[in-house]
Symmetry: C2
Subunit: 357 residues, 2 copies
């Protein structure tokens, strides 16, 4: 059968200034404010294989061995994937169908968002499978269309997603601020505390918070200012300033979620215990040596420096237990993998897992 399978690996990122809230009336995933993140290494990652071929009868998408319904999905990201696929086919002037297989290497049920990692990896590899040769900025725009914050995972190190102002979103993509070697002492200590599904999807929250939180009115301007101040702190390698902005912006994100009607509440008693413990650790040290940050879930990611790594790990373990702490450093963004890593059977053009059944 025709068609060449291509495979890539990509990773999540952790935002220090958060994306939360879509511009009203905008096409998908255009943010109200810029955001700034660290792309993580392959401690947590997604592998995705894609093949495009006229021999395929229809498009198929497997995520973690589960077939997604590209035509009638209720999952917004799957719907966005289908739309993007059609757009890319139009650009590539092809009518080939595709087979996509994606696997996340994330602890199961730990409540860690794998969607940015998954969307970045797909955004990186899908155009290539269709024969398109795009630059990283274009790939970032593509990943953003599947899952907003995924656009930041297209680059390594510290990454800024400029909100942009154009209604069509053509100026809303990420750019590299500094690569992973600029400040290699940065460490991310990740706690794994949650299980089960989120009660409110982030897709829904991105719309509902701007619509119903009255405090949210000032958040975009606050976040925009923080991105500027954080870029300045990174340029000076000023960790205490980075830590202060990171904690304040996490608090601000969860405050506007709580002010949403009905409220979106992700922080649990365990989350609060971690916040208290990090504040106490910083107080004991007499300076900010660690910063907690929470995405749309109860898991803390604690940013620190290499020389404080063990103290932060010990603090985290004292709350969530020895086996529920991971450590990641900065990563370099998605990359191609060799044929041996493919998740698709080259002969049958289907998921290797299915080909083996």
């Amino acid at each position: 059968m025709a068609g060449k399978v291509v495979t890539a690996i990509g990773t999540p990122n952790i935002a220090l200034v958060k994306y939360w809230g879509r511009r009203s009336g905008a096409v998908a995933n255009l943010p109200t404010n810029s955001s700034l993140s660290i792309t993580l290494d392959e401690t947590l990652h997604t592998k995705t294989s894609v093949v495009a071929s006229r021999d395929l009868a229809r498009d198929t998408l497997y995520i973690n061995r589960e077939l997604q319904d590209l035509e009638k999905t209720t999952d917004e990201k799957v719907a966005f994937t289908k739309k993007l696929l059609d757009e890319l086919r139009a650009v590539a002037r092809t009518d080939e169908k595709v087979s996509i297989v994606s696997e996340n290497a994330f602890p199961t049920g730990a409540g860690l968002a794998s969607s940015a990692s998954g969307a970045a990896t797909l955004g990186f590899i899908l155009p290539r499978a269709l024969g398109l040769d795009l630059d990283t900025q274009q790939l970032s725009t593509i990943a953003r269309k599947i899952s907003g914050s995924a656009c930041r995972s297209m680059f390594g190190g510290f990454v800024v997603w400029e909100r942009g102002t154009k209604p069509d979103g053509s100026d809303s993509f990420a750019r590299s601020l500094v690569g992973p070697d600029y400040w290699p002492e940065i460490v991310d200590v990740i706690t794994l505390v949650s299980s089960g599904r989120k009660r409110v999807s982030s897709s829904e929250g991105h719309t509902r918070t701007p619509q119903t939180s009255s405090l949210y009115a000032v958040r975009p301007a606050i976040a925009e200012e923080r991105v500027g101040a954080l870029i300045d702190a990174i340029q000076r390698r000023d960790f205490p300033k980075l830590a202060e902005i990171t904690m304040k912006d996490s608090n601000s994100l969860h405050a506007t979620m709580l002010d949403t009607y009905p409220p979106i509440m992700h922080l649990t008693d365990v989350s609060r215990a971690i916040i208290d413990a990090i504040n106490e650790l910083n107080a004991r040290e007499g300076e900010l040596i660690a910063a907690y940050t929470f995405d749309a879930g109860p898991n803390a990611q604690i940013i620190t420096l290499e020389r404080h790594r063990q103290k932060v790990i010990d603090t985290a373990r004292s709350i969530v237990g020895k086996d529920n702490v991971l450590v990641a450093k900065q990563g370099a963004g998605p990359r191609l993998l060799g044929e041996s890593e493919s998740l698709i059977d080259e002969g049958k053009l289907i998921h290797k897992y299915l080909a083996q059944l």
Copy 2:
């Protein structure tokens, strides 16, 4: 010995639009926004006896059998009481010392703020002990000087505390909106879930939130608008609208607390379970029949109507247990008690508890 003991009883109030945040640079307890509350009946209450006499060597204040140091206290409310006492003595042109004995009838360790109840009762009775005959508005101003929200407990039923604009606070006092008989169907279901002391005193929070929460910038205007909308809902006895405003304002208060740096976090997993349960109850009923609200603590007060009382009690009990739910209705404000209720020994002019030792 000379001096007549006077005794009063007063009660807490539950704010539907909250007071949180002092005007910067203002004299004590001048709020950034107006607030609106329900004064509760004597299910929870404070009793306070006061005697003024030249036979007393010094001022003494007992709260719950504990002697407070009026001269060198670290408790802001005790310091404010001392200051107020001196002010009132100047107005009354007397140099009599006073003995004050105050007892709260609140479940111990249940985390229910008794300060408004205590300050309102003291504000009501202290001027009388000094021979001053003041009107309720003046008494409300006096209570406000001890503990801001106490000024609202000086009236029964639904009460508005107008923020005022004068730097000296002379226009910042409560007024009765409607008495307890206007909407007698209103019921307050109180959960008792916490124990232990608050980590951050409300006094500190009232200063720290306006100073450090960037989202707080818009809260005063939002709260002011809600007070207007809530007055309108009360005039129309529109319970669903009252419920919506109440829940939104509680969310907003706790959002600005969370956005404080470092964050102030009062809502626990139990609080969140109550919020979810009330949202689910309202969804099942197809209309808003109950509204949760949280002061600076994890205990929900759930406002409902008499005809839904049992459903709300059952919902609350399903989360906090059968014995941890109280029910209060509207009260009429503080009142004088007879001599038999006195907490002070008429002969020795000291705490009866001490006189009996």
